[in-house]
């Protein structure tokens, strides 16, 4: 990517946010996949999922897995954003070096 569209500070913010996003969303994804109880309030659970369930708690586990995969996808998007910010940072450094 040759086009420079953000300054050094924005690129640095992007790198920090992306790293944090990757780490945190990755860990959250793992916790959702392992069906941790503390996160029960964060899944889109409806009353219908609980009671007429022939094989409990499979529906709940499915929802957990879904949210988990969502988190992994978001983490992947943040990897892309992080790479983008890294490129911008490198371009900025080159520009700074050239001017001086």
């Amino acid at each position: 990517m040759r086009v420079l569209f953000c300054g050094p500070k924005l690129a640095a913010c992007g790198i920090v946010l992306s790293t944090w996003g990757v780490v945190m969303l990755g860990l959250l994804g793992i916790f959702f996949i392992t069906h941790s109880a503390g996160l029960i309030e964060d899944i889109p659970l409806q009353r219908e999922d609980l009671y007429p369930d022939p094989n409990p708690p499979q529906r709940v586990y499915d929802l957990y897995n879904q949210v988990g995969y969502n988190c992994f996808i978001a983490a992947a998007i943040y990897v892309v954003l992080g790479a983008l910010s890294c490129c911008q940072m490198r371009l900025n450094k080159k520009k700074e070096y050239l001017v001086q």
Binding site: A37, G38, D42, N70, C71, A74
Partner: protein, 838 residues
């Protein structure tokens, strides 16, 4: 880190007149001593070295001009890592000469450049005028056929005849903003005998007088008659028009245009060369600019110090009085020897210690890690000379109290990483020297922030709170399955009840406490806050009482050091007893209730607060005692606390009064014992050690036996102290409850942020909606940093600081001392750096 401030001594430096400059230069490089002003009554214009300082200021002025020019030309000034030494007097003249020569050269070149630019502007305007008036004339083609008359001598206009009337032309340029007024004025004055045509110039020209860039307008005035001509001339002068001679015909116009073109080209060449030359001069000057600035700064500082010294009778040597730490005396001697050697003095300069009665300034040495904590202690007040310093303990207690209020694992990790980055890149950041004050404040406190972050990670693990979620590392101690296996709950109970209570008395439900921290099951309990509030409040009181007792204990060291042993019995003991008998007992009751009552007896567990209040109003007959013998013990503790108040109030004044009255009232009856006692009695008279060197300075009695003993004054002072301490005990203990309040606020804010922001991202069920999680997380991160880290962090920092300054330090710290500011070149501010020129 040091326990108390260093021992200082007052010393006299005898500097020989040849080498005093070099000696002071050496001392400035080392930054050992603080100079005292020996001529306080002399104004700055009457001092000895005033002409040298004037010379330095002249050099600074030239340097300022030079740096401004360099800055305008956008040349960077290279900085050296090692700062140069102060120049000896003979080199000073060289530097002065160089600077003056540079200044002259620069001002000449600048003047020439301005003249050339003015010239260029005139030529450019003339060119524009010629081109534009050509179009006017050609549009009114009738004028071409008329023969020209002789040139009118009044103001460069050519006359033409038309129908017997003499036609004159005046042409020039005027600023666009003035054109309408100009036209109106012309019309009013000349009443229709003039025709004005004007057109705007495309190019914006710089007006050299004001430096503005604005549009100009070329005008051509044709008029009849001489008188009108003069009037028009005057109006043009009024409006500051630039007038140029109007050519008579096309050939002349073309000639003039050609010659103008060549002249403009030449001028541009010369201007470029001038600018290049100017740049070269500035480039050369910029190489040595930095060292000149430093050298002049050091020189000026040395002369200021020399002004503080006094000359002795023989006028051969300078005497300076300095405060010097005793441990640095050897270095001081070494520095003087070095200075004498550099100055080629025949007689070396030397140091002489003198006794002093003034209180020396306080020096506490610190390194880059401890200086942050030192500065937050000193913000409250610099310690008295040789007083116990609270700084070493602050290194641990301050981050700990912050962490108790901030406790969150995730936030702690983010804060620690931020501080770690600052610490690891500190060399680079130090070189950058930013102008942003907020950033500099954060950067200077990087070690404090690092400690706060690490401690927050620890308390986050204890509170089991990570971005408002609990981590289940060891496996919860509560088991819901056991409620089912023991037939307490069935599926029907689950369907019919929204909330259920787990009973720890049922076997298998509670399997012992969680190994480290709060059990993660509490995160899902509705009554979580009831449990945590009770725990955090009790913890705050315990931490508070321990912190305050520690403060009271530290005061013993002060009393012993200042040889006021009576204070230990009359101040420290009553204070400690009062604090421990009342609030220490409260802490004991808290621990007792935690240990003595288990889940089985929990519905019978008494309220500690009720027991505590009953202790004071001495009504405990109706309630079951916590432990056997409680009433008796409580009465005893209350009595001790009550008795310590009058001791605290009256003990010290009465003792001092007794001392003042002679203090030997009891001893007169025991004859020969008096001799033995008097030699042992060293609590009042100062003690001289065997070593003469030390003997001078341990005369540091805080309250030497005064000639005039004002009993009322001492009584009043002691009464204030007693009231402050006793009431303060209660209010300060309650004040520590802020540890609970802030940690509750932080936890709740964290939970709200998660529930209202992150949860939205998780609840999206559509396929495409998953991308929504990305901006939601970004928002969550931004809000976490801005609200929870910055705002809550600053708040917790402030409250922890307040707890240290007020509740901890008012138990033992006076903080009324003066800080030791050594004469050090690196501590002097640089005017140019502040202006951003360097």
């Amino acid at each position: 880190m040091v326990f108390r401030s260093e021992e200082m001594c007052l010393a006299q430096l005898f500097l020989q007149s040849g080498s005093e400059y070099d000696c002071i230069s050496e001392l400035g490089e080392l930054g050992l001593v603080e100079f005292r002003d020996l001529n306080p009554s002399v104004s700055s214009f009457q001092r000895r070295f005033v002409s040298e300082i004037k010379r330095c200021e002249e050099m600074e002025r030239i340097l300022g001009y030079l740096l401004r020019e360099i800055h305008k030309a956008r040349i960077a000034v290279p900085e050296e890592d090692e700062s140069p030494l102060a120049p000896p007097p003979r080199q000073v003249l060289e530097i002065m000469e160089q600077l003056q020569r540079l200044e002259m050269e620069l001002s000449e070149v600048a003047k020439n450049k301005e003249k050339l630019q003015r010239n260029l502007l005139e030529l450019t305007e003339y060119t524009h005028m010629l081109k534009i008036t050509q179009t006017f004339i050609h549009s009114r083609s009738r004028y071409e056929e008329f023969p020209t008359m002789e040139t009118d001598s009044a103001g460069g206009c050519t006359g033409m005849q038309r129908l017997g009337a003499k036609l004159g032309f005046i042409s020039g340029l005027i600023q666009r903003v003035k054109v309408e007024a100009f036209e109106r004025m012309l019309w009013r004055v000349c009443k229709g005998y003039t025709i004005l045509s004007y057109a705007e110039v495309d190019e914006s020209l710089t007006d050299l007088d004001t430096g503005e860039i604005g549009k100009s307008v070329v005008f051509l005035i044709s008029f009849w008659g001489d008188q009108i001509g003069q009037k028009v001339q005057k109006i043009c002068d009024c409006y500051h028009c630039h007038l140029y001679p109007h050519p008579e015909n096309d050939e002349e116009r073309a000639d003039v245009l050609d010659s103008l073109r060549t002249r403009i080209q030449d001028l541009n060449n010369v201007l470029h060369r001038t600018e290049d030359y100017l740049r070269q001069v500035l480039q050369k000057a910029s190489e040595s600019a930095f060292s000149w600035v430093v050298q002049v700064k050091k020189m000026k500082a040395i002369y200021h110090i020399l002004n503080l010294c006094s000359f002795d009778v023989t006028n051969k040597c300078l005497i300076a009085e300095v405060w010097c730490p005793i441990s640095d005396l050897a270095k001081l001697r070494g520095a003087l020897e070095e200075g004498s050697r550099k100055g080629d003095a025949t007689v070396p300069s030397f140091v002489n210690r003198i006794p002093c009665t003034d209180t020396p300034p306080t020096l506490l040495r610190s390194n880059k890690f401890t200086s942050g904590f030192q500065s937050i202690v000193e913000a409250y007040g610099v310690g008295d000379y040789r007083e116990v310093s609270p700084a070493p303990y602050t290194i641990i207690t301050f981050p700990f109290l912050f962490a108790v209020m901030f406790g969150d694992l995730g936030h702690g990790i983010v804060m620690s990483l931020f501080a770690l980055w600052m610490v690891l890149t500190e060399k680079k950041q130090n070189k950058k020297r930013s102008n942003n004050e907020i950033w500099t404040t954060f950067f200077n406190g990087r070690y404090i922030i690092l400690m706060m972050g690490l401690f927050s990670v620890y308390t986050g693990l204890i509170y089991n709170d990570c971005f408002s979620k609990s981590l289940n590392i060891f496996g919860s101690g509560w088991s819901i399955k056991a409620m089912f296996t023991n037939q307490q709950w069935t599926n029907k109970t689950l369907q019919n009840n929204a909330l259920l209570t787990m009973d720890p008395n049922v076997s298998g439900v509670f399997n012992g406490p969680y190994p480290f921290g709060i059990d993660p099951i509490w995160n899902m309990a509705v009554n979580r806050l009831s449990f945590l509030n009770s725990y955090k409040m009790k913890m705050s009181v315990i931490v508070g009482v321990i912190h305050m007792s520690f403060g009271v204990v530290l005061s013993v060291f002060n009393h012993l050091h200042f040889k006021q042993k009576f204070n230990v019995y009359l101040l420290f003991l009553p204070e400690l007893l009062f604090l421990l008998c009342l609030f220490g007992y409260l802490v004991f009751m808290i621990f007792y209730k935690w240990l003595a009552f288990s889940a089985r007896e929990s519905n019978r567990a008494p309220s500690i607060l009720i027991h505590f209040i009953n202790m004071f109003i001495m009504q405990g007959k109706d309630i079951t005692p916590l432990y056997p013998g409680q009433t008796g013990l409580q009465i005893f503790l209350l009595l001790v606390a009550m008795l310590s108040v009058p001791v605290l109030l009256l003990g010290k004044p009465l003792y001092l009064y007794w001392l003042y009255r002679g203090g030997k009232g009891l001893r007169r009856r025991r004859g020969y014992e008096r001799v033995r006692r008097a030699s042992e009695d060293n609590s009042i008279t100062p003690s001289y050690d065997d070593d003469e060197e030390e003997g001078f300075d341990e005369v540091s009695n805080r309250e030497p036996l005064p000639k005039q003993f004002d009993f009322a004054d001492v009584c009043l002072h002691q009464a204030i102290h007693t009231i402050e301490f006793c009431l303060g005990c209660i209010s300060n203990t309650a004040s520590y409850l802020r540890l609970w309040a802030l940690s509750l606020a932080h936890a709740q804010l964290s939970e709200v942020l998660w529930a209202m922001v992150m949860r939205l991202g998780f609840k999206i069920t559509t396929k495409v909606g998953v991308v929504f999680l990305v901006p939601v997380f970004g928002l969550f991160a931004t809000l976490t940093v801005s609200i929870l880290l910055v705002m809550e962090g600053l708040s917790a920092f402030l409250h922890a600081l307040r707890l240290h300054w007020v509740e901890f330090q008012n138990k033992f710290y006076h903080g009324t001392g003066v800080k030791f500011v050594p004469f050090d070149f690196s501590l002097l501010p640089s005017v140019f750096e502040q202006e951003g020129l360097l």
